[in-house]
């Protein structure tokens, strides 16, 4: 084919509407899923390192003679930490990196919806992180001989998926806020990491908190998600649970709605604001 013929090409009909929305989600999810296959360093940083924290808590609990369920609590918490890290570093502050590389301008300038870009980031992150979480769960179970006894698979799946939707919805909402930020996004993520570890009860049941502290911590979807999952997979989990599982599922549904709708509105608002203030391509002047 001659060069002039190649350049003279005219595109066939491009899809719009919901088909463009779906294409955008899949296209943006692709680098996350494929990237994980090509960069193997995550095996060390995101499986081996969290396993050290899990092991530390397990040995503490065993040393003080805590009930064996606590070991299971820690392993499940360790696996779910992967999702929190992913939301914090690869959702919330991601738009800062996208701005630095110039991708953000290309996303906004294209006819796709930014909401689809965020959903794609979330979907890709969720798929990639599930592999990490499963790896931690399997390793932890084998290493520490954790015994599971699932009381309801249906509820367990419902809790997991609702937790993920709410958690990634929260990530999308905070990503919108971070649209205006520059390097401070990185510092805010750093600042949020440890308090959320504590408040979500990654390594202990949140029932140990005062009721109101636990209720406030429930704003973070992982808190109730973890609590409900532990109640459903350990025989004495219900006794250590914060709220009834059905109530926790209801709250998780509400959190899903709030975070997803919030993300949509906040994203629209922040995009307009960023365009007005000139922050899509540049940091704060």
């Amino acid at each position: 084919m001659k060069a002039s013929e190649s350049l003279a090409y005219s595109a066939s009909e491009k899809v719009i509407g919901w088909r463009l929305f779906l294409k955008t989600i899949l296209a943006r999810a692709y680098p996350r899923i494929i990237g994980q296959q090509r960069e193997k360093s995550w095996i060390f940083f995101e499986i081996f390192m969290p396993m050290l924290a899990v092991a530390a808590y397990v040995y503490v609990y065993r040393a003080i003679g805590a009930p064996e369920e606590y070991v299971g609590f820690v392993v499940v918490g360790g696996a779910m930490t992967a999702f929190w890290m992913n939301v914090l570093w690869s959702m919330s502050s991601q738009l800062y990196w996208e701005k630095e590389t110039g991708n953000l301008a290309l996303y906004i300038m294209a006819p796709n919806s930014m909401m689809a870009v965020l959903l794609g980031m979330a979907l890709g992150g969720l798929v990639a992180t599930t592999m990490r979480a499963v790896a931690i769960m399997v390793l932890g179970t084998l290493m520490f001989q954790v015994q599971f006894s699932v009381s309801s698979f249906t509820q367990l799946f419902a809790v997991f998926f609702l937790t993920m939707i709410a958690l990634y919805g929260m990530g999308m909402m905070s990503a919108s806020l971070f649209l205006l930020l520059s390097r401070e996004a990185w510092h805010i993520s750093n600042l949020a990491q440890e308090p959320i570890y504590l408040a979500s009860g990654f390594y202990f049941p949140i029932k140990s908190f005062n009721f109101w502290v636990a209720a406030a911590a429930s704003f973070i979807p992982l808190t109730l998600g973890l609590d409900a999952m532990r109640q459903l997979i350990f025989p004495s989990g219900a006794a250590l649970g914060f709220l009834n599982v059905n109530l926790e599922i209801t709250v998780l549904i509400l959190l899903c709605i709030v975070f997803l709708i919030g993300a949509k509105f906040l994203l629209d608002y922040m995009e307009r604001l960023a365009i007005r203030e000139g922050r899509i391509t540049e940091s704060r002047r």
Binding site: A27, R38, Y107
Partner: protein, 342 residues
């Protein structure tokens, strides 16, 4: 009614520059664009020529819906960029020089495919098109290379392919040859011209601070400095205005303290620019007529400056810029550089 691809009226953008907390009440304003009135017809390759910080990128950002103007309006592909950005976006694309968009872990093909999906291109067609365009730019053997492994020049070719891939009505290229070597720049320029010539309905707006690039490529050029459009016409017409002047380049021994002003103050000297490097000085002069050269030579000999070589030449866009701005583009950039980051 003329069918303009780009139209602006009194377009302006003022940035508010925030200082630290103590200075928060003293917010400074930076006028990046001021009353820009431009029309670009469909099929045109239009150049924005100006030094760094002239407002070229700000104008492109407004036209590509990434930045709101603070005054005036702009239309691209017949749609208002502020009122109807969703009608503008499917019709445009943009490539910036030195951009590092995409994901380094993805291959060239995967990166291009990803961006094509954001425009709703069918995957099969996108993949076919990617191969065609990569072959055209000589990147077909790198189709499965991770983009992080590409050199700057190859990466820029990939970016240009990204711009062409979606077949936009209006393509914006912001300094597309920035940082490229001579060969890569030539390839990119050939590609740009070829793309535009292949379909007369396509429009391309290019910003550059390379005079030769603007002269070689553009149908029309707007000279922009400090946010204002100072001239807008075909390169030939812009130069024609200067053809009645006599333009000389003179190489001399060191200037012995001779200043630009001492020459520029002479009534027959319209513009003068002096540079000195490695013991050789270069004077670029725009004179009212050739007879004024004698006056200049006199001044030089009074200052014990030896003339080593002189040439008379045809005006270039650099001369047009100097005529309109009063300084060479290089000098404007040097002058503005210390203020950057303040």
């Amino acid at each position: 009614m003329p069918d303009y691809a780009i139209e602006t009226e009194d377009l302006g953008r003022v940035y508010k520059i925030r200082g630290n907390k103590k200075e928060s009440e003293l917010r400074k304003e930076l006028v990046a664009l001021e009353k820009v009135n431009l029309t670009v017809e469909r099929g045109e390759l239009f150049g924005l020529l100006g030094p760094n910080g002239a407002g070229k990128t700000t104008l492109i950002k407004i036209l590509t819906t990434l930045l709101a103007p603070t005054s005036g309006w702009a239309r691209v592909a017949a749609h208002d960029v502020i009122q109807s950005p969703n009608l503008v976006r499917p019709r445009i694309n943009m490539v910036s020089g030195g951009e590092s968009s995409g994901y380094g872990l993805l291959t060239v093909r995967e990166n291009l495919w990803m961006f094509s999906q954001f425009y709703g291109m069918p995957s099969k067609e996108a993949n076919h098109r990617i191969v065609e365009l990569l072959t055209l730019v000589g990147l077909q053997d790198r189709i499965h290379t991770k983009s992080s492994d590409l050199s700057t020049g190859l990466r820029q070719k990939m970016n240009i392919v990204r711009g062409f891939l979606t077949n936009p009505e209006v393509l914006f290229l912001d300094e597309p040859t920035l940082g490229l070597d001579v060969g890569a720049s030539r390839d990119v320029r050939n590609l740009i011209r070829g793309w535009l010539d292949a379909d007369k309905k396509r429009t391309l707006l290019l910003t550059t601070h390379y005079m030769v690039e603007a002269e070689e490529l553009c149908d029309r050029v707007a000279i922009i400095n400090k946010g204002r459009v100072l001239a807008c016409d075909t390169p030939a017409n812009l130069k024609r205005d200067l053809q009645r002047d006599a333009i000389f380049e003179i190489e001399t021994s060191p200037l012995n303290g001779l200043s630009n002003k001492m020459l520029a103050d002479q009534p027959q000297v319209k513009k003068a620019a002096l540079t000195e490097m490695n013991g050789v000085a270069k004077l670029e002069l725009v004179l009212v007529d050739e007879s004024a050269l004698a006056t200049v030579i006199n001044i030089l000999s009074q200052n014990n400056i030896k003339v080593m070589r002189f040439t008379k030449r045809e005006p270039t866009l650099e001369d047009v810029f100097m005529d309109r701005v009063g300084q060479r583009m290089e000098d404007v950039e040097k002058e503005d550089a210390p203020n950057e980051g303040k």
